[in-house]
């Protein structure tokens, strides 16, 4: 018999293989949509590390997403940096900013932290408009889509899809490694019982700030990729609603679950479009109904429910 670990590895490999085949089956427009799904998935994983695993609620991750996007846009637009370099820079910058924001945020717990991060989300569009010289004000910055290098016969949509998929796989492996080891156990222990965690010798303050930084870095990388995929940045794209959409994504996908980020990303990308196709008059009401249905049917998110179903199946088989 094979253990659950082997099964999981098989599922992951099969999914990656399927994802690699998609560009040769789907239209460029569908690919663009899936590129966005991957971008959202990276951002959601970042937020999930913070909120799902570490228990810190953030209503402001749209701000880091925007920071990442603008880092890429400004570097390309003002300094003509090759786009590939801008992605790690966006991640590093968000890591530092997130870490620094994490330090004062230590004093805030639960809902109070949520409000503080909410303030961040509110402030960012206006700050972006203020530094008009750099950010282009509310007109934003127009970029060019990167073409495939080395004479590869790929459309720019296909190329961006593969770039995003590559970044996604690397970041997901890193996160899985991080969370499966000592650091991950410390992060979860702080969520479950901060006092006990401290008693066991975990430096709560350091871990919480670091988690904030890593989480912001993931979201920043996602923002950088989105700037490339959309080929345009403007303050209006990074409003409060984006931050709330991320929160919806991780809850629907499954808190404290790595695969949940993918499910959540699929949800926030496609469900609003379906809602609009069902009813033009009240798309957000339909979206709300979807949200309630999902929460009612799968209170632990999609990933949590799948895990539950898998567990039941395994037990059934064991009983036989």
């Amino acid at each position: 018999m094979t253990g659950p670990g082997a099964w999981r590895r098989a599922v992951v490999l099969a999914s990656v293989a399927a994802a690699c085949a998609l560009p040769f089956v789907l239209s460029n427009f569908r690919l663009f949509q899936f590129t966005q799904v991957f971008i959202y998935a990276i951002a959601l994983l970042g937020l999930n590390i913070l909120t799902g695993f570490n228990g810190q609620i953030s209503l402001g991750h749209g701000a880091f997403y925007g920071l990442g996007a603008y880092t890429t846009a400004i570097m390309i637009d003002k300094w003509s940096v090759a786009y590939g370099w801008t992605i790690p820079v966006a991640g590093l910058l968000c890591l530092v900013v997130g870490f620094l924001f994490g330090i004062p945020a230590l004093r805030l717990e639960g809902l109070y932290l949520a409000l503080a991060t909410f303030a961040l989300a509110l402030a960012v569009p206006q700050i972006l408009k203020y530094f008009e010289h750099w950010t282009g004000g509310s007109q934003g910055i127009v970029l060019s889509k990167p073409d495939a290098p080395f004479g590869l016969k790929l459309s720019s949509d296909q190329w961006l899809y593969f770039v995003t998929l590559g970044v996604l796989v690397v970041l997901f492996l890193l996160a899985a490694n991080l969370l499966a080891r000592r650091t991950g156990r410390a992060i979860v222990a702080i969520r479950d019982n901060p006092i006990a965690a401290q008693a066991m010798g975990i430096n709560n303050a350091l871990y919480k700030s670091l988690t904030f930084g890593v989480s912001a870095a993931y979201t920043g990388v996602a923002g950088a990729l989105s700037a490339l995929a959309i080929a345009f940045v403007a303050p209006d794209a990074f409003n409060v609603f984006l931050s709330i959409t991320f929160l919806v994504g991780i809850v629907i996908g499954g808190l404290a679950s790595i695969s949940g980020a993918i499910f959540g990303a699929l949800f926030i990308q496609f469900v609003p479009n379906w809602a609009q196709d069902i009813s033009k008059a009240a798309p957000w009401a339909i979206y709300g109904i979807f949200l309630i249905l999902f929460m009612y049917a799968m209170p632990r998110g999609i990933a949590g429910s799948l895990r539950l179903a898998w567990g039941r199946l395994a037990r059934l088989r064991a009983a036989r």
Partner: protein, 404 residues
Amino acid sequence: MTRRSIVILALVAALGLAALAGSVSAQTPGVTATEIKVGNTNPYSGPASAYGTIGKGLAAYFKKVNDEGGINGRKINFVTLDDGYSPPKTVEMVRRLVEQEQVAFVFQTLGTPTNSAIHKYLNQQKVPHLFVATGATKWGDPQNFPWTMGWQPTYQTEGKIYAQYVLKNVKDPKIGILYQNDDYGKDYVKGLKDGLGDAAKKLIVLEQTHEVTDPTIDSQIANLKNSGANVFYNVTIPKFAVQAIKKSHDIGWRPLHLLNNVSASVDVVLKPAGLEASKDLLTALYLKDPTDPQWKNDQGMKDWLAFMQKYYPDGNTKDVFNVYAYAVAQGLVHVLKQCGNDLSRTNIMKQAASIKDLSLPLLLPGIKVNTGPNDFYPIEQEQLAKFDGERWVLFGEIYDAGKK
């Protein structure tokens, strides 16, 4: 006999082939013998959802056109999607329109940042991007963006008109400016300065700005009064325009008050600010204001009201956006009629760029739509109007920013 029949056969075959070839080459995505598919995005949700009524008004107007038999036998299939005023969503939705829905062209996409996001894409795809709903200046650039065309007078155009008026009619003008600190405000100020030319530095005595999030603009008004300005160039959206009109009246400042068209609505701005305080305001207009009593018996306005009742009964008949939608939809219908049976994308763009002296019933009398291969600004005329305490009284000539 046989030879003749062979010749005839050959001729018929050639004709058939030609017809076939013709029909193949004329095949534009979204165009069939019975239908023209038109794509659009509007903010039906989100911070700018007040503009959503434009999209609904357009859909209602095309329903009317279809009920009356369509255009050259083709019905308009108007596909309008919500982008929530979010540029990434606009990109996704417009790509969906072009690549999935296969629309013939994109029409009246709303908003400056949202249109900026799709500007390059549509021009690369060579899809007409017609009559965009924004007053920014960059949409009329046929050299670099031959597939994009604006519609309404730009903010800069309007600013130039005020400059012309001030230079001609005000003795020793000292101009004080209040503007919203963003692209919209700056565009208006640039227009005025361009219009004033070299004299701008001397004539403008004070510039004050405000943020869209400021609670009040009282101190700015006081500063402007103290600067000794005798002309007040008021570039603010309705909420702040009401405050500015009230405040300057309350502190007894009586300059020549130039109010930007954005806030010219009688119901939304002037009534809340006080009709007495609003007296003698000046603005530039190009559309008929539905709340202005002087159009009560105007045939165009009557037709519009009948249309609203029949096709868009939920729509607000005091909202100038619904007038706007009706007028621009008529502009498009004119272009499509002019295309005849050649609905290739190239010809749609060509016809959009050859509108000659088109009058529309809801534009002010005398204002005409004109475009050309090098003129992608359809409406460039406006007329000044003075508020007499009840309605806008049009006066003077029609200013034309296109003529220089």
